[in-house]
Symmetry: C2
Subunit: 594 residues, 2 copies
């Protein structure tokens, strides 16, 4: 694999030409200083850090993994990880989009997300240490008392302490209602927490002075089910430096992200502090969870980009066979494999999914900033609705596409893709988890169709559709864009009908929604990307003749590829949805095998 | 993961009720004794061996891997591998479908293939040691001199020696024309061979007394390109026990099949013996290669079955959430996840692909037996044509589907699927290579569309289509089958038109065939499976009321699932093919990234 290069040109296109974040960001209270120049300098610094500091540790981190010491319950991260983290802290990146009241740099998510993408491309396992911390920061910032904020936030912001999310238990992943960890009041306002948590990313390590665990547990009198879950702050070390009995019991052996410590965390009367209201832990937890879901999407995006870069370099260098229509480089022993249509199909798939994913990420980041900072309540609500609708899409569609892209990268390499030294197969293994954690992609699909679409009778989806419809109307007379606008408005209409059909069917039988959900999510993903590709083509056309035609023509060509070779998946999605739940539900459970 | 259970009931269905191999096999000269009872006893013995001997070594083999000793160039296989291989030899399985003249049991491929499927389910890395040997046996049996046969075959048949295929070099995989390894005549009829081969599966190990390498190399006066490649037998040990300088230089570190030794083989004036004609090595090599491609298909099949078994058990046991329509098991803490439509979708996908793949395997094995043994030349030609047409389909479609099935198995497990101990992620890693080696799946697609379909103006495809057409005609009035026969004959017609369209377009521009190839292969795969599912439903209907209705109703239900939820992929394939090569070829090589 070639050295990772941050896609700064494409980020500039997406942020400044497509989403035009500068039209909005500096108008939001608190982001007045977040100018285009400031963005550029942060992006440049982050690119250098990712390219030079963490990308070189990606392969070695995978080979070394994390080391658990059962004697003192400590975990050693791979060589170089701690030093890179210290540098990241010194550069101020741990507090990039954090509250200046606690030492943060107060930058918008619109800047933070692209930087997260770069980290995911360069070293996704490493990126999860600051990533999880940021989730803990966000939960405490949103739900903590002033004292809790003063106690924890400055350290999480400067990176001297890190954080975790302790949700899962051996018998409960998706179904948090089954949670068993107990929290007994100590009488002094603190709680005594006992239980076992598993799959705790960055759960124990040697990179920070303290680890702040955010732990879901039940109070003694708590209602059963998810209505009886509370969230607690459980620090590894107390303020007086004494050790809290919250300790790593083991590390999991995993398919990928081996350099991230996935810990079993045992709590044995560990002292914890309630955060937020009793029994309202789930909603506090979703502060972290929604961000984590977008973070997963960026893992798919970043890994797709890394795999594209590797595959493209290889396809240009590897000489094998001649072009079907005759030698293109007769002076060489064979043609580079990029001449072959099927290799180009794979490269263009990686490229088209990645660039659309980058656009979606910027769009969502901007909505998050608007949701948080816009003075107008309607604008905030519109932004919040779009984020709610598209979060499960970003999580599942971007990780499924990222996994496909990573596998195509391996495929471009042929047998060499299977060899660890090349680094291509690691991307497949590292990406695989993103489809599983923070709610499997099947759960995302049900969240989208059930909670985000059917529960409000399609209100959020209609709002989103209106945006796409407006774009189509505005460009109805645009001959250049006709090849995109035509299929886009046709699909928009079909999705409306499909959604209506599912809604009707699921009123009679809820399994109809469950059966359609995964296909429906890809349908929404495709119309989102088709809309973004049409918009990218529109921008590209408007820039032609300005001195950078190669870049803009590539955008238009890639948009065409998307419409010709990826968007047609909707044909099978529509056909599958039409067949309903019966083909899934008729086989009796005991007759699946004989 | 649960212990592997060989799918004997389904094999009985496929062999004896669907493909009805007993109507033909015992009528073929040499296979008179291969009765249904004989089949059953071999299958039972193989099932026991796979379940009890090699399945238990699958996880440990992955963890241990193979160990290379640089001092003496030896390789140690994981614990238990050698003992299991000895038992396999003692049971006579190494010579199962080998010539009795050399100690083989003379059984048909129709029996050998299901046994290969079982090995692939139980332990694909282990299965490759005897698998590669069998390839060497077949090449020497087909192309060797009587002396060569007498020298090598008895040992390959009894398993005391094993074999390899030495094709790939660092700079040449697909493009064997670039091959550099040299063979200089020694003057005594032998040759002195020098070069480096990579990716040599089972290339060095401690399981047999000798290793017979079949090596592609160039004679001094050989024409350039693939027309100048010859095949040589290069034994590790000479008849006098002396060591030939053909040695393992290193083992590759791989994503999966870690228990199989993927060796770098250095030849340093190693003594070799020409097999077949000078410069005709490629056609000898294809004796091994075609079998190896079907072997890959069986890896996809076997791994899909193993993943299905794991996922099904987990889905029945794992309690998480309630069915959308209300609790199905209110007495339990939650419902088993098999109640959820999306989980059933994944299980049924695994099941439908696996069972159709098993049927295709039996069909192809029977054609191979007919091709080899049938007294009638036309019957042999028909069988050969079908095998030629469907070999790339079996290789690519079955491995792509196997990989999808393995990934769905992981997905059913949620986060636990990512943890090595469960064994589900290993299936993904082990399956990944099957899409890459023996010709990447992209190469299979070009082989199918270019060589097998367009080169003979569609003659082989028309012959195959006629079979499907006959089935549709014969069942035109069958109300029970109408739901299958209708879509099947519609698709058959569309594929005819699609093929014609590609043929016309590719006369103007050869890239049109290259651009359509991968989608076209999946189209042919789907019509093959759709035809087989319709035939399975036909058989199942005819057996209803005979005491095993649960089994046959499951077949009918799975056929419906296939038509409702998997076959619709053809809608997007047709749409993508229609858009032609331009969306792939227009972007200039240097404009893929900026």
């Amino acid at each position: 694999m070639p050295a990772y290069k941050a896609p700064l040109r494409d980020l500039d296109f997406v942020l400044n030409e497509l989403i035009k974040v500068q039209d909005i960001i500096p108008t939001l209270p608190g982001y007045e200083d977040a100018t285009q120049d400031i963005f550029a300098s942060y992006l440049e610094a982050a690119a250098q850090f990712c390219e030079n500091e963490i990308a070189p540790l990606n392969r070695s981190g995978d080979e070394e993994g994390c080391e658990f010491n059962a004697a003192d319950h400590s975990v050693k991260t791979p060589a170089g990880f701690k030093q890179a983290y210290q540098q990241f802290c010194e550069l101020g990146f741990t507090g990039l989009d954090c509250d200046p009241a606690y030492g943060g740099q107060g930058m918008p998510k619109t800047l933070a997300f692209p930087i997260m993408e770069m980290q995911c491309s360069a070293n996704v396992a490493w990126s999860m240490y600051p990533g999880l911390s940021h989730g803990a920061y966000a939960a405490i910032h949103a739900h903590g008392t002033p004292e809790q904020k003063d106690t924890y936030l400055p350290h999480l912001v400067d990176g001297s302490w890190t954080g975790t999310m302790c949700l899962t238990e051996p018998h409960c992943g998706t179904d948090l209602g089954l949670l068993k960890t107990k929290a007994e009041p100590n009488g002094d306002g603190s709680y005594s927490i006992t239980g076992t948590k598993i799959f705790i990313s960055a759960g124990e390590h040697d990179m920070s002075d303290n680890i702040i665990h955010l732990v879901l547990a039940r109070l003694p009198d708590a209602p059963k089910d998810v209505k009886g879950i509370s969230l607690f702050i459980v620090p590894k070390f107390h303020a007086d430096g004494s050790r809290n009995p919250v300790a790593c019991g083991a590390l999991e052996h995993k398919m990928g992200i081996k350099a991230n410590a996935t810990a079993v965390i045992n709590l044995d009367n560990a002292k914890g502090y309630l955060i937020g209201e009793p029994n309202k832990g789930l909603s506090c937890m979703f502060t972290m969870m929604n961000a984590a879901r977008l973070g997963c999407g960026m893992q798919g995006l970043g890994i797709g980009e890394a795999s594209f870069q590797g595959a493209l370099t290889y396809a240009r260098e590897r000489l094998q066979m001649r072009a079907l229509a005759g030698a293109k480089f007769p002076e060489k022993a064979a043609d580079p494999i990029i001449v072959h249509p099927d290799v180009r199909r794979m490269l263009l798939t990686q490229k088209a999914y990645t660039e659309a994913g980058r656009a979606l990420t910027a769009l969502l980041a901007l909505q998050l900033d608007i949701e948080e900072k816009h003075p107008d309540a309607d604008a905030r609500q519109d932004a919040a609705d779009l984020v709610a609708l598209l979060t499960p899409v970003a999580k599942a569609f971007m990780t499924d596409n990222g996994f496909e892209a990573a596998n195509m990268g391996v495929q471009v390499f042929g047998g060499h893709g299977f060899i660890r030294e090349w680094g291509m197969e690691q991307l497949v293994r590292d990406c695989r988890i993103s489809q599983l954690y923070e709610g499997t992609n099947g759960i995302q699909a049900i969240d989208l169709l059930g909670r985000k679409v059917l529960l409000d009778q399609g209100a959020k989806l209609r709002k989103f559709s209106k945006q796409i419809h407006k774009f189509c109307e505005a460009n109805a007379g645009n001959a250049q864009l006709a090849e995109f606008v035509g299929p886009l408005s046709k699909l928009l209409k079909e999705i409306g009908e499909t959604t209506m059909g599912i809604g009707m069917a699921s009123m009679m039988d809820k399994d109809e929604a469950g059966a359609a959900a995964t296909d429906f999510l890809r349908l929404i993903g495709h119309i989102t990307y088709a809309w973004l590709w049409a918009r990218m083509a529109e921008v590209a056309y408007s820039k032609l003749g300005g001195g950078d035609d190669a870049f803009y023509n590539a955008k238009i060509t890639t948009a065409r590829f998307y419409y010709a070779k990826l968007l047609p998946e909707v044909e099978s999605l529509k056909a599958k949805i039409k067949t309903g739940a019966k083909p899934l539900m008729s086989l009796q459970d005991e007759h699946f095998a004989f």
